[in-house]
Amino acid sequence: MRIYADNAATTKMSKTAIEAMLPYMDKIYANPSSLHTLGQLAKEELDAARASVAKLLGAQPNEIIFTSGGSEADNQAIISAAKLGERKGKKHIISTAFEHHAVLHTLDKLKKQGFEITLLDVHENGIVTPQQVADAIREDTCLVTVMFANNEIGTIQPIKEIGAVCRQKGVLFHTDAVQAAGHLHIDVEDMNIDMLSLSGHKFHGPKGVGVLYAKKGIPLVNIIEGGAQEKGRRAGTENIPAIMGMTAALEEACDNMAENSAKVQKLRDRLIDGLSVIPHSVLNGDRENRLPNNVSFCFEGIEGEALLLLLDAKGVCASSGSACTSGSLDPSHVLLAIGRPHEIAHGSLRLSLCEENTEEEVEYIIRAVTQVVTYLRSISPVWSKLVSGEQEFIIK
């Protein structure tokens, strides 16, 4: 048996997405920049996909740029806003402490170029407030970038309200919506979003393709130089099969959002309830304002990589913010950002579901996690000290 509960890492492609890709490999395979009939046919299909994606996001087609994925879109959005700000003498950027590394590392790069970065506290519940953003905005702020929903702990940010603050103060607002697209309702117009990044493979589409939405009039800086594809904003022959697959997947996900979300949320809530029974465990992130598919826990006295490997041996695919899974000595910056001490952050587990998971699978996961945590605690010298009272529990 194999239960896949790592959908925040990537998803299985849907049949619809796979079928949508196939014709563009051996039938409509011409280069959309070519002037011949087959090339122009490909261009028409590309334009149609762009229009579909735009509609699903509440945007205009010319505001949609196809990229190689969420990371590229994040890079391009942030670099573009920074360069625009620099020209006006504005070199201050606001973000949060628990963004994806595609955002944080781009900000690090800008910091080295003389930009000042403010990373807002995300509190224990993993949510930043519009007031914090309002308080942090200065005369020289050129960009606010806040993720739509966190990839590790699933907390959903008040995007519309933050967008409103930015609009009012005349500051560009970007959101990394990689975990949200296809899972939560998005309307860039209604939500006051100037730029948005998404990635195809997080909603049953293909890998290696994503979208940058940039509101009309925002001058973009090219990350990839070359030909004049994407109206000169992103060079390279368009990855049409992937774009078609992603578009079909996004349409499907948006069409079925209400139904999928209700189903997955029920499974999520059962999983949270089942794992909460494990003593000295804690749910990471707000219980209510979280992605319908995200479950994130810390278990005291154990280490996450060992937990993952043992779950894998029982057929459960999950992930962890443990240092040992990242190749560094520090545990997840997300868990540290919500105030989990290192000792606790090492013992983390993320389970991210999808609509294909079943109630039986969830019950199996609860049993498997309970057994593995109990076993690892039984061989942990930290746990024996906690139980004997030699050391105090951090998670009560």
């Binding site: 006295g301 154990i302 280490e303 996450g304 990589e305 060992a306 490997l309 043992l310 041996a313 443990s322 240092a323 040992c324 190749g327 000595l329 520090d330 545990p331 001490p341 290192h342 000792e343 090492h346 061989i379 942990s380 010298p381 930290v382 746990w383 024996s384």
Partner: protein, 143 residues
């Protein structure tokens, strides 16, 4: 290729000599929960022979496998032989560890040495301090 060798997975999934020990001749604990790994080794020494070894580990798969392998390697050995024990023996016996996991084998070596030091201390046996790790926390740790 998988992250770990079959040997590592075997010792991780079926660790040998797990547990604690009452009235141990020597106990050694190294590591730091902040860094994500702590190893505790218990030795039962009779007539200069390591009759029994037990371990408890808080840590990743390779930390657990390294502890397990280390206990197997020193069980039945003379104290003087155990003192010669190095992390390289653990890495070799496990058919290698990924570079970022070699420190787990170092922890296993240090835990054994600290247990031997404890045995010497308890029995008033004189020893050369330089043979043992200088601190009881992990020297490789960044914190």
């Amino acid at each position: 290729m998988a992250l770990y060798s079959d040997k590592v997975m075997d010792h991780f999934l079926n660790p040998r000599n797990v547990g604690s020990m009452d009235n141990a001749s020597g106990v050694g604990e190294v590591g730091n929960a902040k860094c994500g790994d702590i190893m505790k080794i218990y030795l039962k020494i009779e007539d200069d022979i390591i009759e029994d070894v037990k371990f408890e580990t808080f840590g990743c798969g390779s930390a657990i496998a390294s502890s397990s392998m280390a206990t197997e390697l020193i069980k039945g050995k003379k104290v003087s032989e155990a003192l010669e024990f190095t992390n390289k023996a653990v890495v070799e016996a496990l058919d290698g560890l990924p570079p970022q996991k070699v420190h787990c084998s170092v922890l296993a070596e240090e835990a054994i040495k600290m247990a031997l030091k404890d045995y010497y201390d308890k029995n008033g046996i004189a020893y050369d301090c330089s043979v043992f790790p200088s601190c009881d926390s992990c020297s490789h740790c960044h914190h």
